[in-house]
């Protein structure tokens, strides 16, 4: 009774025209034709419309270098969003991603700064991410701490550890290859985007085609069912948090290559932005609903909106304002569709 189902909107739907569960489906039941198509693929249509409109209003929007730039900016967010999607699907959320990102990035600078360190950098980063994910998962499943608080707490603890480790400020530099991945492009295609795409494909397959992915949806869709059909819901949940932690670590490493110099706040704001992107992309906080392509579309929308606001000549502040409006509108859109 304590998750989304216990909150006003869900209750509203109980007393209203049948429960949300009873009518909401991915397919948008009862709708067909153009309206159904628009409803099912609304997020992608919206993204395309946004791009077209931006291109018309500000022609420089569609310039190669601008697009390349946007893609480079989107990639780290996209990587985090993939993990966040797994976690939200099992009715959770992960606020510790930004702390994981920064810690992995800081860890990347604690070697000699050559490519020979790459395995160590990657290993240590992943260890941090997976370890945090494991801690989150255990707190949430075994100690039954709410995901919000569990990941908030690990976020703070990790921040303390990071500061203690760096004595206040990270120093040193990241391996050159990370530099390249984080800040270069290959014929206009940023390397970090390639990393994101590879991860999206791999984890997209895991989520949408593998047995594990099915377990994720069942666990999030109905945890009790999951338990009673012999799916180790706890293990699935822990795995999701580890995926989120691991991907956040990779995103942190990629982002550390963005400037080459690392500070304590690499990834600041990603914890909420990644949730926002996922929600815009149709991942439901109530669990069991959403997809990786949708979530990535959400990340793309955020990136495009940010970029377009500037190109339209609006003050930077409108980036935040429009972000706020988009998230409410998107959530309202999905709510409406569910009814």
């Amino acid at each position: 009774m304590s998750e989304l189902a216990g909150t006003p909107h869900a209750a509203a739907s109980h007393t209203g025209a049948g429960s949300m569960d009873a009518t909401a489906t991915k397919a948008g039941p009862g709708r067909s034709g153009l309206a159904g198509f628009a409803s099912r693929h609304g997020i992608y249509l919206f993204l395309i419309a946004l791009i077209v409109v931006s291109g018309i209003v500000a022609p420089s929007f569609l310039r190669g270098d601008n697009i390349s730039n946007m893609l480079m900016q989107m990639a780290p967010l996209g990587i985090v969003v993939i993990g966040q999607t797994f976690v939200i699907l099992v009715r959770g959320l992960d606020l510790s991603v930004s702390s994981v990102m920064a810690t992995a990035a800081v860890a990347a600078t604690s070697f000699s700064g050559t490519n020979a360190d790459l395995p160590a950098v990657l290993g240590l980063g992943l260890a941090i991410g997976l370890g945090t994910g494991l801690a989150n998962g255990l707190l949430i499943t075994k100690r039954r701490v709410s995901p919000f608080l569990a990941t908030l707490a690990t976020m703070i603890v990790l921040q303390g550890i990071r500061f203690a480790w760096t004595q206040g400020a990270p120093s040193g530099s990241v391996p050159p290859l990370l530099r390249t991945v984080g800040s270069q492009a290959f014929y206009g295609v940023p390397y970090n985007l390639m990393v994101m795409v590879v991860l999206a494909v791999v984890f997209g397959l895991v989520l949408h085609a593998s047995t594990f992915g099915r377990k994720v949806y069942i666990t999030g869709g109905n945890p009790l069912t999951a338990r009673l059909v012999g799916i180790g819901a706890d293990r699935v949940t822990i795995a999701c948090y580890m995926i989120s932690g691991g991907l956040a670590a990779i995103a942190g490493l990629v982002l550390s290559g963005f400037v080459g110099i690392v500070d304590n706040w690499v990834g600041r704001g990603f914890e909420l932005d990644s949730i926002v992107a996922a929600v815009i992309g149709g991942v439901a906080l109530s669990g069991g609903r959403g997809s990786i392509p949708g979530a990535l579309a959400g990340a793309a929308i955020l990136t495009v909106v940010f970029n377009a606001v500037l190109l339209f000549g609006l003050p930077v502040q409108f980036q935040i304002i429009i972000k706020g409006a988009v998230i409410i509108l998107a959530a309202a859109f999905y709510m409406r569709r569910a009814h």
Partner: protein, 354 residues
């Protein structure tokens, strides 16, 4: 080789009377308990400044019985609490590096009212309710940077201000002083002011947005410290600016921007803001507790360096950037650290009185 003289802001100060404070009322017998309320760590400048302060305290073990250090993590509310806690612990003198100049004003003023002397370091409060402020003249830095940009651009062009932490006194003072210069040139236009929190990562993100908006119209970047400057240069490179095309940048203290200036042929002016002022704060504190006269603003000297060929009529360097840079050193190293050879912020540890 470098300029080693007294602070030029003092020597060249044209006013007849320089403000001095009588501190006899604070005279006390040692050993002292000194408190240091730090705004926070988080960037390499602040770490070196803290180490410099600890080192100086260690060198004065005879006089200092205890040095109590708190760190507010860049949170105004916590810093106020920290200051209250330090006062509760019975400090004889308080050194404060205020997170933001206005927010800490009431709290610091209060301490002074209670009769405890306050020495500000690096970041002051808005009012003058302290004994002295140990700094390296943010005003001079700001004016020199602005004057140089104006002269580089022959009085005409578009400037972006890349700030540090909004509301922190060094940032505000440097921008204010810079604006006093820019305002004299009607053909200089400030396109935008963005903030980086002294972080190269945030600096790069902020500059990317600005470059997306203005592109080649940007003629100069007024960066209020070296911590964020590399982010800006990176953003230009990524936007397709070739070496030699990147507009002039200003910087301070940090090795990375100097390396980049040489590598990508970025015209650059460095005006130092040495973290060694941490140690100076301890020296000044001891003077105060000894009842000696101290200047209202204790400025330590800054180095001036430019890329070769980029000196202007008003800006004559002490050294060239290629002489100053530590070629193979880490990018985040503080070239003006003054901590002596063999210093490594990661391993530094000193036995100061606790």
């Amino acid at each position: 080789d470098w300029y080693k003289g007294a602070p030029r802001t003092f020597l060249f100060n044209p006013s007849a009377d320089v403000c001095f404070k009588d501190t006899s009322q604070y005279k006390k017998a040692g050993p002292y308990t000194i408190g240091f309320s730090n705004a926070g760590l988080g960037d390499s400048w602040r770490v070196v400044a803290l180490h410099s302060l600890e080192k100086a305290a260690a060198e004065h073990k005879d006089k200092i019985g205890k040095l109590l250090i708190t760190d507010a993590g860049h949170d105004d509310a916590k810093q106020i609490a920290d200051i209250q806690d330090l006062v509760s612990r019975g400090v004889d003198l308080l050194i404060v590096s205020a997170n933001t100049e206005k927010a800490l004003d009431p709290a610091v003023s209060r301490v002074m009212k209670q009769g405890i002397p306050v020495v500000m370091v690096d970041r002051r409060i808005a009012s003058d309710n302290f004994v002295t402020f140990v700094t390296a003249s943010d005003n001079m830095e700001g004016r020199l940077w602005a004057q140089w940009l104006v002269e580089k651009l022959n009085g005409k062009g578009n400037i972006v201000i890349l700030g540090g932490q909004a509301g922190s006194s060094p940032n505000e003072a440097r921008v204010r002083a810079g604006m006093q210069v820019f305002d004299q040139y009607p053909n200089i236009k400030i396109l935008d002011t963005v903030y980086s929190d002294w972080s190269p990562v945030k600096g790069k993100q902020a500059m990317q947005a600005v470059i997306a908006k203005y592109g080649k119209d940007i003629n100069g970047v007024f960066s209020t410290h070296g911590l964020q400057t590399p982010g800006s240069i990176e953003a230009f490179l990524e936007a397709g600016f070739k070496p030699g095309e990147i507009p002039p940048h200003t910087t301070a203290d940090v090795n990375g921007p100097l390396q980049m200036a040489l590598k990508y042929k970025v015209p650059m002016l460095e005006v130092g803001y040495p973290p060694a002022m941490g140690g100076q704060a301890i020296e000044t504190a001891l003077k105060v507790l000894d009842g000696a006269k101290v200047p209202c603003i204790t400025e330590i000297n800054s180095q001036i360096a430019v890329t070769r060929g980029d000196e202007t009529p008003s800006i004559r360097p002490d050294v060239y950037i290629d002489e100053m840079v530590v070629k193979d050193g880490p990018a985040d190293m503080l070239v003006t650290g003054g901590m002596g050879p063999g210093y490594d912020p990661k391993t530094f540890s000193v036995d100061y009185p606790k």
